[in-house]
Symmetry: C2
Subunit: 209 residues, 2 copies
């Protein structure tokens, strides 16, 4: 390990995020602590709180890497504005996006789960830089919904969020084995039925002026 004086603040930050992410990956969100991160990188907790604003700020930086990772997996499969999957129709493309989300969650369960297990302190607003990473993921879904929903920004926004929240529900229930309890074998049949009918329903709306 390099001597302490060798690391800039930015380097310490990067090391802490990597160590924290590894902790969560191996032991889940419940296994995370600032103390463990400090030990892993050979610094004191005090140093950690010098380079991060607070405990939430450390987790947000770790979770941001997960959001970036998920975005890069999605973009590599669907292109920034969905063009890499231009050969798929709307319905197939949205199904593939949903499958990609569920696969990512399954393969990176602890890191994905930490996105939802972490709760910001009530008085702490979500930083803009973090909100932008969430926004980038929704932009990708919205690009795929535009041919169906049209250009109305508010409706596009809402449709993307309804679909995500619904698929997230199916995903979370699948990965915690709760769908087998209600007699469902795979998440795939549920997401297919959800997207197929939801899209068909959207197409029945009267044309907007």
């Amino acid at each position: 390990m390099a001597r302490r004086s060798d690391h800039t603040r930015e380097e310490i930050k990067t090391m802490a995020v990597a160590a924290g992410r590894e902790l969560i990956r191996d032991a889940g969100y419940a296994g995370f602590s600032a103390r463990k991160v400090a030990t892993a990188i050979g610094y004191t907790v005090g140093t950690l709180y010098n380079v991060f604003e607070n405990h939430d700020d450390i987790i947000l930086h770790i979770n941001a890497v997960t959001l970036e990772d998920l975005l890069s997996v999605m973009e590599s499969r669907f292109g920034v504005s969905g063009d890499a999957s231009a050969d798929l129709d709307d319905y197939e493309a949205l199904r593939a996006l949903a499958a990609c989300y569920i696969d990512y969650a399954r393969e990176n369960y602890n890191c994905w789960s930490a996105l939802f297990e972490h709760n910001l302190a009530p008085d702490m607003p979500l930083p803009d830089w973090y909100g932008e990473k969430i926004g980038a993921l929704f932009t990708l879904i919205e690009a795929r919904l535009k041919p169906v929903v049209g250009e109305d920004e508010a409706e596009l926004r809402q449709t993307a969020r309804v679909l995500w929240a619904s698929i997230h529900g199916i995903c979370a229930l699948t990965l915690t084995n709760k769908l087998t309890l209600v007699g469902v074998e795979t998440a795939e049949s549920l997401t297919a039925a959800l997207i197929e009918n939801y899209i068909a329903g959207l197409k029945t709306r009267p044309a907007r002026l």
Copy 2:
């Protein structure tokens, strides 16, 4: 407290379930332990494991009371086969059912959450009596979907499960304040959009032979 010899096995079971449910209600699923239940009812952990099969069996009995409670709230508002809400159209009735689920989860957060936090041991099958309680809840949703979906049992089953899993996702994300992070103000607008389009989509299917 009555003397120990005053209680039958059934009485001990009932006392333990009530005490366990109170524990979960006050301290969440993480605050539950067989030891605390035993202490609360003045018996040893050994006695508890004499009247229950194992740790999972205790939790299942506690969670079953939550399922019964949720069913009785739903039935009191919608009737056993949906007839108490006969004045609502399909779309309104399903929206009201979703709102009822989300309200119940909000008002009984720790008990509702325990339904999903508990994981059965991998070698333990779900007991039939517990599966029937889950089934009764789905029967209520299916009754409301029948006018839209038709009599096909398999499709009715699947449609009910898709809707529940999706609404469950919106509900879980709302109650953990995750929807505000993606710029959504209320769960209501999402469930409305979900049900409206999903139902409209179902109605576009070709008639079955």
